[in-house]
Symmetry: C2
Subunit: 225 residues, 2 copies
DNA sequence: TTACATATGTTGCCCTTGCAACATACTTAC
DNA sequence: GTAAGTATGTTGCAAGGGCAACATATGTAA
């Protein structure tokens, strides 16, 4: 694939900002880029897919989305040409994507196997190198955390938010019974809901046997529904 | 301040993962760390503050929050010891924080002037160094974008979401009249709201003279209310 | 062109949920 | 200890907005 033909455009890509044409070529040789065409309505990655390439949208429009079991589609972000996406894998290699990337209009995507970059970094000292890697990793992690929060907020009902949050905590703490770091007032603020409505809905869910709780200790009883 | 006393704990901090005690000391000498105590209910940063330090929560509990003009508090994230925060400035130095960091319980925070790190990185080639900087910068940017999305979703009313979104677009495009990248159905999915309800509310807002629109071109007329 | 799928507008129903107001705990400070 | 401040639970009310159903309009495919 005639990579060089694209280089002129590359100069305008944020990822390559500050780099001269020859330097971009140099990089593309170290990390063989793949340029793929995706037709409208295709998926670049599905939630759960293993991601090992950093992606740059060259042309078209791509949406970062999250779909629930019922096909309810939530658009988290709309990506324009120049956008870098699927970058979370920089945290820990071979990370699975939590979201899907849906092609809104025919698109050109450049995929870069950048994982090596961090491994190859050689600083004055091993310590600094390691530190830098950690910084990148943490940035990626924080990103993931914000995505998790988004998954909660994008629920359209209060019950949905509560369940999304509790299931996330259960997953993160690896146990169906767990303690949350919020009091009622703060939980309401975290879920961006009314405190009294939250209390009311929690009571209902307890009645229905979906969850159980005592102060800040919750148990998710019935994951379905 | 007796930094060394803390070093034993440092070994468990994600930011210093994989580093030996002596290496941590080495880093702390290059980037003089400051350890500050914050009492409960204090703010570490207020939205709008200039941020130049990478922060690590050593002890306590800190909340990343967003407050609107009416003091409505939205907790975006609850931070536990070990968390790194205020990292967005890594994108572009002296960046202003979009969110506030509120001290939920008495906390110890280590502040690292890490901005230099990226400047000091010396790789085999200038190109690779620059690329790495760009990656970090983009990670930080994407982070910021997710935060923007969160600001929309944390609105409790549909009108609030619509306004938050439109004002964001107006700001980003630097003009009160702008085109959005969504059709109605997708805008509903982006705002996580019902499509028909969205249409209804848009019509109302047009009636009330708050906004005007024609297809995908919107104008924000009255920023207040 | 015809047929089918998808996008947009509109409207009635009614449940969920925000809001306000109040009564009880529970904290923190003095 | 008392008092002030904050957290939690409860409940009535009103309405915002989700849902379903339908009519067009626009787009896509054969």
């Amino acid at each position: 694939m005639a990579v060089k033909m694209y280089v002129p455009n590359y100069l305008e890509i944020p990822l390559f900002q500050g780099l001269a044409r020859e330097e971009i070529s140099e990089i593309l040789q170290s990390f063989p880029a793949m340029i793929k065409h995706f037709p409208k309505s295709d998926y670049i990655y599905l939630a759960g897919d293993c991601v090992e390439n950093l992606c740059v949208l060259l042309e078209g429009k791509v949406q970062m989305i999250k779909e629930d079991i019922w096909g309810e589609k939530s658009i988290i972000s709309s990506l324009e040409p120049g956008s870098v996406f699927a970058e979370n894998f920089l945290g820990s290699l071979s990370e699975r994507s939590g979201v899907s990337y849906f092609v809104a209009t025919d698109s050109e995507v450049m995929m870069l196997p950048l994982g090596k970059l961090l491994a190859d970094v050689s600083l004055q000292s091993r310590a600094l190198r390691r530190l830098l890697c950690n910084v990148v990793s943490i940035l990626a992690d924080n990103n993931t955390r914000l995505l998790e929060k988004t998954e909660i907020l994008c629920q359209r009902t209060l019950r949905g938010k509560i369940l999304a949050y509790l299931e996330q905590e259960a997953r993160n703490q690896g146990c169906n019974e767990f303690t949350i770091p919020f009091n009622r007032t703060d939980l309401a603020n975290y879920l961006d809901a009314d405190r009294s409505a939250l209390t009311r809905e929690l009571a209902r869910m307890k009645d229905e046997g979906i969850i159980d709780y005592e102060k800040n200790t919750f148990t998710v009883l019935d994951v379905d529904n």
